[in-house]
């Protein structure tokens, strides 16, 4: 797996999940199998987020080209990063932006970041 995160603009870092990680995301934890949310968070998302934050750049996440995102993957990666940011009083959505042909897909990810504890309410 090679990270090909390209700098679309001089002030942005881009992650294309289908190209940089997988087109078939898995579950929440690494123990659940390959391409889990935890693996994505540890290997790609968190390092790129820290880089974007330090360099004061926007982190663009391209969501298309994937067969579908299980809710556990979304929660195990973006939800967990959002919880970490909340503890440090950071607003993840200020540093991150999603690109997709499906507005509902973007809404799912943004909702997870805004309220990473939503599944506990259900």
């Amino acid at each position: 797996m090679s990270i090909t995160a390209s700098h679309r603009e001089s002030d942005a870092i881009t992650i294309n999940i289908a190209k940089d990680f997988t087109n078939a995301p898995g579950g929440r934890y690494c123990k659940d199998g390959p391409y889990s949310g935890e693996e994505f968070l540890d290997k790609i998302l968190r390092p790129k987020y820290e880089q974007a934050k330090n360099e004061r750049k926007l982190l663009i996440i391209e969501l298309d080209g994937v067969y579908g995102y299980p809710s556990s993957f979304v929660s195990g990666s973006f939800g967990l990063l959002s919880s970490e940011c909340k503890k440090r009083k950071e607003n993840l959505l200020e540093h991150i932006s999603f690109v997709s042909s499906s507005p509902s897909r973007i809404e799912r990810f943004e909702l997870e970041i805004r309220d990473p504890t939503q599944r506990e309410k259900f």
Partner: protein, 192 residues
């Protein structure tokens, strides 16, 4: 002309049928009141009132009803109803995924596909709702969909997943809630 009306009946567009029936009833009441007020006859039989009422209904009600059924707004609303029906179909079909005799990889692939189809169905509804300027997905339905998505997106992706009766029961209960919420949403669209 009648094909349109029959199609509406088959499709279950009861609002249109109620409008037609309401028009008929109001026509009879008006006729009854007029006959009382003007004393055209000392005795007006029920059959005469109904016959006249039906004539008025045919002369006024049917053209108005057909105008409504063939209007642009109603055509858009009908298309929008199709999008809502498609959302229900996606969720109903997904219920079969866990019951199939498939490998874990196949189940997970089907669930990924379900998430994509569900997003597409919601996109269509949101676009339609934006275009019509109303009928946004109710929050109660959004919650029901979310609960179901959490159930389908969690256990089947966990290590050592096995299909239990509890999970199947939960799935059926959540799916039932979704069906109820979608029906409520459909009636809301029809009656507005």
């Amino acid at each position: 002309m009648w094909q349109h009306l029959l199609a509406e009946l088959r499709r279950g567009a009861w609002a249109s049928v109620f409008i037609a029936f309401g028009g008929y009833l109001i026509g009879i009441i008006i006729l009854g009141l007029l006959s009382l007020g003007f004393h055209l006859k000392n005795e007006v039989t029920l059959v005469e009132i109904l016959t006249l009422g039906f004539s008025i209904f045919v002369a006024i009600g049917i053209p108005l009803l057909l105008k409504r059924l063939t209007s642009d707004a109603d055509a858009r609303r009908t298309l929008f109803m199709g999008d809502v029906e498609e959302l229900l179909r996606v969720y109903e079909d997904s219920a079969k995924i866990l019951q199939q005799d498939s490998s874990m990889e196949e189940v997970q692939a089907s669930i990924r596909l379900f998430f994509s189809e569900s997003e597409q169905a919601k996109d269509l509804i949101n676009k339609g709702s934006e275009h019509l300027g109303r009928f946004a997905i109710p929050s109660s339905l959004k919650d029901a969909l979310k609960r179901y998505e959490i159930l389908l997106g969690e256990p089947p992706f966990q290590e050592g997943f096995t299909l239990t009766d509890i999970l199947l029961t939960q799935k059926e209960e959540l799916l039932h809630t979704i069906k109820v919420e979608i029906r409520k949403y459909q009636y809301e669209i029809l009656l507005q």
